[in-house]
């Protein structure tokens, strides 16, 4: 372990050098400001309410608080650190597997948002002091946080084992859906049987059950469950870590080169390349969730056009890391290759935009088709206009942002960086024209058609200008972009 702490000192130094070089400081500051503001506003009241309830033997508020903290941990640990002293590079030194794992786990605490969540979690334990068993309850809560971290890291490691990625994609989706279901059920708490059963299965309730238990058997069962869960998670963590460390797969078996759509023309192969790499960005898969939910809903009831079109806006907002950051997956060598190829910057951005469009519009097409089936051909036209305006606006703004505020994206990871406010502002700018179209479509004015035609035309012009401007700026600013994405 002495070696792990030695390496950690170098890891710390290297981490901050990279943060400064890639401009991630702005992202951390904006996340800290946002989280800090929410926490300062909401936490004291929640803590006192949870403490009061626990003193009276009730657990609902504490359950919710623990669940929110669990989700916060899952989110902040989801950031791909891209640490300099990675395990695959340290393997050739005389360092034990346990030391490497200790280094990996300690490196999770390098980013400032994790410090904030650690502090909030520590404060989050304070209501347990009012419960019947404060010590046992606090220990159970710490175990719960440990389990959360263990599960998150294990899932991440399993995703890292290249050969298992395809199979594990569905497991990861199921895991995400389960967390989402727990969150929705626990926060809604509508008293339905489904909600009640989900809440009962929520691991956070184990903690509160221990804290307010009145009999010994009421303590033993949740403690045993936490211990068994802990043992299982630790085994999974160690197994996946060791497996990932020594079980490599060569490139040719790890990635099967297929693309969703073959496109003709000079830029066709470039678009295919984009499709292949973009499929590895998890944001696109998260964007599928609202579409799936809407399709499930559409099977039982008729979806109104407003709901359907709002989902289009949400899907594009969820895909902002791709639509507004189209150079994110590129590395410096790849950027140089673009300059070597006989294509202009605007062609490059066009190819990237088309690649994203193919992937984003596929799930949206299902919704558009359902809309046409349920509401008629007129709605088909309206839906298509909304989707076209959405994509044009996102790309028009996103291409410029990609050159001036590029953020590194990672395959199979959520790797946000850059300025969070810029991202939020970009989502607003990208969504605004489509929202205007949705509002105009609902107005009963004679000028509706003209207004929509004007919005579409303006977006086409904006997109065309953005292609030219971002393309030429990219050629001039390649050094800056390379440094940010390096």
């Amino acid at each position: 372990m002495a070696r792990a702490s030695l390496i950690f000192r170098y890891q710390w130094r290297a981490f901050w050098r990279r943060v400064l070089r890639t401009g991630r400081v702005k992202f951390y500051l904006s996340v800290l400001a946002l989280l800090g503001w929410i926490t300062a506003g909401a936490l004291p009241d929640r803590l006192s309410r949870a403490a009061g309830e626990l003193a009276a033997g009730q657990t609902a508020s504490m359950d919710r608080l623990l669940l929110v903290l669990c989700v916060l941990w899952l989110v902040v640990l989801g950031e791909h650190l891209n640490v300099s002293l990675s395990n695959d590079r340290l393997r050739r030194f005389p360092i034990s597997v346990r030391s490497l794992l200790a280094l990996k786990l300690s490196s999770l605490f390098l980013p400032p948002p994790v410090w904030l969540v650690t502090s909030v979690s520590a404060f989050g334990l304070s209501p347990l002091l009012s419960a019947r068993h404060p010590l046992l309850g606090s220990l159970a809560a710490l175990s719960f946080f440990g389990l959360t971290i263990g599960v998150r890291v294990s899932v991440s490691q399993l995703l890292d084992i290249a050969r298992r990625r395809r199979r594990l994609r569905f497991a990861a989706a199921a895991f995400g859906a389960a967390v989402l279901a727990f969150a929705v059920a626990s926060l809604q708490h509508d008293g339905s049987p489904l909600s009640a059963s989900l809440i009962a299965a929520n691991p956070a309730t184990l903690v509160t059950t221990i804290a307010v238990a009145t009999t010994l058997p009421a303590i033993i069962v949740p403690v045993a469950t936490l211990l068994v869960g802990g043992a299982l998670v630790w085994s999974l963590l160690l197994w996946s870590f060791t497996r990932g460390l020594y079980d490599e797969a060569p490139e040719q078996t790890a990635h099967r080169a297929t693309s969703i759509a073959w496109l003709p023309g000079r830029l066709g192969p470039l678009i295919q390349k984009e499709q292949r790499s973009l499929r590895t960005v998890l944001d696109l898969w998260v964007g599928l969730l609202p579409v799936l939910a809407a399709v499930a809903l559409a099977l039982s009831t008729s979806l109104s056009s407003a709901v359907r079109q709002t989902i289009f806006v949400i899907v594009c907002a969820l895909n902002a890391n791709v639509t507004l950051n189209c150079l994110g997956l590129d590395r410096p060598a790849g950027l140089t290759r673009y300059l070597i190829l006989p294509i202009r910057g605007k062609d490059l951005f066009l190819a990237k935009n088309v690649g994203v469009t193919v992937l984003v519009t596929l799930p949206l097409t299902v919704l558009v088709a359902i809309g046409a089936w349920q509401s008629g051909v007129t709605q088909l036209g309206a839906d298509i206009v909304v989707v076209v305006v959405l994509l044009l606006a996102h790309f028009a703004w996103g291409n410029v942002v990609s050159v001036f505020e590029p953020r590194r994206a990672e395959p199979y990871r959520f790797a946000p960086s850059g300025d969070l406010l810029t991202l939020l502002m970009s989502v607003l700018i990208g969504s605004a024209p489509a929202v205007t179209v949705i509002v105009v479509l609902r107005s009963d004015s004679r000028t509706t058609a003209a207004a929509i035609a004007a919005i579409v035309l303006l977006n086409v012009l904006a997109y065309y200008s953005s292609l030219r401007f971002a393309g030429s700026s990219f050629e001039r600013r390649i050094e800056f972009v390379s440094r940010r994405l390096g």
């Binding site: 070696r3 030695l6 390496i7 170098y10 130094r13 290297a14 981490f15 050098r17 990279r18 070089r21 300099s84 002293l85 990675s86 695959d88 590079r89 393997r91 050739r92 030194f93 005389p94 360092i95 034990s96 597997v97 050969r163 460390l245 020594y246 079980d247 490599e248 797969a249 060569p250 040719q252 078996t253 390096g486």
Partner: protein, 256 residues
């Protein structure tokens, strides 16, 4: 020479590595005595680097066994890591540390005394003409500088067996000469050097023995002096086994 396993610095028997349906290395058997410079040759993708990883415990074999300095190679044998020095195919450096920090960290990880570590690092940097670039971040270093840094790291703890994957790739002629002299001196002192290279002239001058791997299988293993006896060159032998890519009709090249 005795075939007792203890006399070999490197002793691989039937090493096989399969990735899914792809067999990267198939039944590799080779022995290298102590103090020898042994070259491992082969075309791109033939299994050289995978073999190096198997011999250094960076990968676990699917079948077969390897011994290095008499110890059975296993992925978790830390003692073995202290005995060997590795220059990996992809230098495996840390982008946000300087060259000097790499050597500093490396010395401490191998448990060297701080003063000894610093003295050795300075000498190695001088020998490899890397003194000027010691404060350069690896992220900003040239390919050759990174290679030299990785080589210095492989040598710092004074290993008994050196595994060098393409050590001369991207190295300038002056440093290349220094590295060759150093490797010859090390071999004289009993250090075993196992290197892979595509530069056959260097191999002919440097190595005492070589093996050729094609499509994961060792197809030839002999001494360099055998070549002279047979009146052939390493290039001829190499092309005889590995062949040449088909020469297509490239008449269009140069005609515009």
């Amino acid at each position: 020479m005795s075939t007792d396993t203890n006399t070999w610095a490197i002793d691989a028997r039937g090493l096989t590595k399969t990735f899914g349906t792809v067999t990267a290395v198939r039944g590799v058997t080779l022995q290298v005595p102590s103090g020898m410079i042994f070259a491992f040759l082969g075309p791109n993708g033939s299994g050289k680097s995978t073999t190096v990883k198997l011999l250094t415990g960076l990968l676990a074999p699917t079948a077969g066994e390897a011994r290095v300095t008499g110890r059975v190679v296993s992925v978790e044998d830390l003692e073995l890591r202290r005995e060997i020095g590795i220059l990996p195919e992809d230098d495996a450096l840390f982008p946000d540390l300087t060259i000097w920090e790499h050597l500093e960290l490396c010395g401490r990880l191998y448990g060297l005394d701080r003063q000894e570590s610093v003295a050795r690092a300075i000498q190695l940097l001088r020998h490899l003409d890397l003194e000027q670039g010691r404060t350069t971040l690896v992220e900003k270093a040239s390919f050759g500088m990174r290679k030299k840094c990785a080589l210095a790291m492989a040598l710092l703890h004074n290993p008994r067996v050196l595994f060098l994957d393409e050590p001369f790739e991207g190295i300038d002629p002056g440093s290349s000469r220094n590295i060759k002299d150093l490797l010859l001196a090390l071999a004289e002192r009993g250090v075993t050097v196992f290197l892979t290279s595509h530069i056959l002239e260097i191999v002919e001058r440097l190595a005492e023995r070589f093996a050729l791997i094609v499509k994961g299988e060792v197809v030839c293993c002999q001494t360099v002096s055998d070549l002279e006896r047979d009146g052939t060159t390493l290039e001829q032998l190499y092309l005889g086994y590995a062949g040449r890519p088909d020469v297509g009709n490239l008449d269009w090249l140069g005609h515009r």
